[in-house]
Symmetry: C2
Subunit: 185 residues, 2 copies
């Protein structure tokens, strides 16, 4: 009987377990991955996002955001994202890359209706996020389904590193049908 | 008396306190930021790094890496990096961007000599990091000062978000001499 991190199948399963735990449990580290994009002028950017869904079958993830946020401008210019999570209890580093499609408007109105009132507060602020303001609190929250957006990330590549007594690193890609490949760590 | 997060000066001080704590304390969240770069083919990338120094006066950070790692190829093509840390005890999100210079060879030999033996193990592996290998452990560690590199990051921009009862967001940039500017969150 091998440990989960000794096979690429075990690592792959641990990846989706962690992402599902993140969706289900607000305190799990995979709940708040770091999401990296490239700005329109070519700078790397990184910020915390909240993971909303993780579909192992489709290898797809979703994140919610404000349609006026900087990451939308970046994704419109370069629709590629990277997600990073460190899972301490598994000594596992998760790195994903994927194509990101932005959904908003009528298509996601049913989703908006399901979001609790207090959470709707996270979408819509006046002035728009990132606008300079004279004082820290010179803004108002203005929950608005028109500024709510869903980022649909179709994962194309995954890189997992298990930091154990020995380090193990494996890569998985959609074009190789997620068949794992060991890499030198 | 205001809280530290109620002034841009207070946020700026909290930033460098956190980074210094990260350098000094292996268990502090700022010890292991997420470092984002842009790959030569334009993909965002993110991975954990270990923060080695943080100089508030110069607004400069350093990270050590293996000269054969992917992030070196990325930084050679696009010498810009972004660093992201979430500091739970302060409800503070730190986002930095900066120009990254790669130092290696004789210039940093004195630094290599100061690294404990067990830590030198992190620099130098055969085959090079990211090389496909048949089995998970088909590699050998080969500590080698020739593959040791220091990333010197000259910060150009900082974005801080404090998630409190009210959210506060401030931006700081080198060109504005780090004078804080409130932003809509």
């Amino acid at each position: 009987m091998s440990e989960w991190f000794e096979t690429t199948d075990g690592l792959w399963a641990a990846l989706w377990d962690a992402l599902r735990d993140g969706v289900a449990d607000a305190r799990h580290p995979a709940r708040r991955p770091t999401f990296a994009t490239v700005s329109p002028d070519g700078w790397p950017e990184a910020r915390t996002v909240v993971l909303r869904t993780a579909d192992a079958q489709a290898a797809a993830l979703t994140v919610h955001t404000d349609l006026q946020s900087d990451k939308i401008k970046s994704l419109q210019a370069n629709p590629r994202g990277a997600l990073h999570v460190w899972v301490p209890e598994k000594d596992l580093q998760i790195r994903l890359q994927g194509h990101v499609a932005i959904a908003s408007g009528d298509a996601i109105r049913p989703l908006w209706a399901e979001i609790p009132d207090h959470a709707q507060q996270s979408y819509g602020v006046i002035p728009a996020p990132g606008t300079p303001i004279p004082e820290a609190l010179d803004y108002v929250k203005a929950p608005d389904p028109a500024t709510f957006a869903v980022l649909n990330c179709a994962v194309t590549q995954v890189d997992l590193v298990h930091l154990g007594k020995d380090h193990r690193r494996a890569q998985f890609s959609r074009v190789r049908h997620w068949q794992g490949q060991w890499l030198s760590p």
